[in-house]
Symmetry: C2
């Protein structure tokens, strides 16, 4: 079992002062995590549990496979990026993006922008490729109605950007009960549809992903359409563009997209078999709590708080 999640962070932070010793200690921690071993005394109170403990105790039903019908494989020369779309929050965008992918629209296009601590963006560098059956404009799916049927696991802590924050089917969500709205939040690894100044000008032909500190000021200003579940490092490490807003100045700097496929269209043997932790489970609640208050040999002062975009969303390959 491996854990590979953008927000995943281990307890031991910066290693020992001498790297060799740090690596030794760290390797131990890694093994303990993978094996679910307990480093604590058996009598340690529940408050001393770690994320590794919580995940080791998770039931198989606490995990769910990705939704193949709404999962994209973005293939770069460096390998695959797996993106799960969010049709509950941006249904028209999801439909259009699936249509574009199935038409081969993205194949041979490129990453055109990499702005440090902000976003990486991909699309058609020439702006000439026809959209085919896909729509050129879409309704601005920046929020959805807050209804009882919308799954929501609320975080115990408040958030300056919204009255309520939490998770819905593995996605970071904010809500405003007075306004009757809910919306996806711009956390690390979230994917959105670029738009111009007109609110309906985003159509999914140009997509971006958050690669730095959460730019929450974008919330409700643009449509988020999903999140990167695996392969974030392939996007986050791309050279930054030297042009305005991090656009690459030379075509030779563009990072080619080999192709984009819908997971459901890919032969089973070629699929990335990934599972994500369900966020409507007691296991997830426990995970939030052990991350709000870290208690291990390294942490000396638990924060007693966690912000929405610091909550890890564990992923595993069974």
């Amino acid at each position: 079992m491996i854990f590979d999640t953008p927000a995943y962070r281990t307890a031991l932070v910066a290693g020992l002062a001498l790297a060799r010793r740090a690596i030794a200690t760290v390797a131990l921690g890694g093994i303990a995590l993978a094996a679910g071993a307990e480093e604590q005394a058996p009598a340690a109170p529940p408050a001393g549990r770690t994320m590794a403990d919580v995940l080791a105790a998770a039931a198989p039903s606490d995990w769910r496979p990705l939704d193949a019908a709404h999962t994209l494989y973005l293939e770069l020369d460096s390998g695959r990026v797996v993106i799960e779309l969010a049709p509950r929050f941006a249904p028209e965008h999801a439909t259009n993006i699936l249509r574009l992918a199935r038409q081969g629209y993205y194949d041979g296009l490129a990453v055109v922008r990499s702005q440090d601590n902000f976003v990486v963006q991909w699309g058609d560098p020439d702006g000439k490729r026809p959209l085919g059956e896909a729509r050129a404009t879409l309704p601005p799916e920046f929020t959805v109605p807050l209804t009882a049927s919308l799954p929501f696991t609320r975080l115990p802590d408040a958030d300056g950007y919204a009255p309520e924050v939490g998770f819905s089917e593995g996605l970071p969500v904010a809500r405003d009960p007075r306004a009757g709205q809910a919306w996806l939040a711009h956390c690390y690894a979230m994917v959105g549809a670029g738009r111009g100044n007109e609110v309906d000008s985003g159509n999914g032909a140009e997509l971006y992903v958050v690669i730095g500190h959460a730019p929450r000021q974008l919330d409700r200003n643009i449509a988020l359409v999903g999140r990167v579940v695996q392969g974030m490092e392939r996007l986050a490490t791309l050279p930054r563009g030297a042009g305005p807003l991090g656009f690459y100045e030379q075509p030779s700097q563009h990072v080619p997209i080999r192709r984009v496929r819908v997971a459901a269209d890919v032969p089973e043997a070629e699929r990335s078999r990934l599972e994500v932790l369900r966020t409507d489970t007691a296991t997830f609640d426990a995970l939030v709590e052990v991350r709000r208050n870290r208690r291990d040999d390294w942490y000396k002062r638990p924060a007693g708080y966690i912000d929405l975009c610091s909550v890890p969303l564990p992923v595993r390959a069974p």
Copy 2:
């Protein structure tokens, strides 16, 4: 004049749906920023000002040069990373790090760790290099006493991690008046001193920088010693390590550090002449406000809030 700051984000986010048009629009915005031009009608209300407007109206005295006596040049094969230390918050660490730099301790060492959405870390891969005149342990400078002499520009908004947040001489700071403490916050580009489980085991020989969403849970658990003022992209784009905690598994993956020098020891002609916006100015207050409530052709719904680590800290080369 150029602006190059890790937290700098422009108003136009994701570009137009077609990249070619986006680049054109974007280039326009970039030029307007650099030249301080006004795109708005002269009669536009103050609420419509942008960060570019605020910076264009700044007085020369709103900027300060870096403190050469406490600035490090970390030279990689890819170029220079400029780090300004924070002796007010971590005086013993600053002294030790300056001593290590002047001894040539860091020269020929390497970046040993790159963990996605967390930290990049450098030090001695072999753990064998002697510390010379530098100290092996240091007091845990995780907080400082909250005194009247500590500069502090408080943000108007609350923060879940601390009762008060704001800026002190260009650094993100949290405070707890009841506890009588202040401390640096783990925002993007902040640099800290790695430690083991003992609180006094950090000595500055191994340093890390935040490359992702702010890991504020580290606040008060480890000593922050300064921040990267220029060159963050050289660290943030390093390949992620495949080992536990993002350590590189093979020595061949280590990223060499050519050398680290104190700016004051470097001939004038070789120095990076940078200025940072003072955070105790009306210009900075105005900048915070235009970022709390973005009003331009792109933003449709101002956030009405800004979190500590989303406030830009502008840098310029005069």
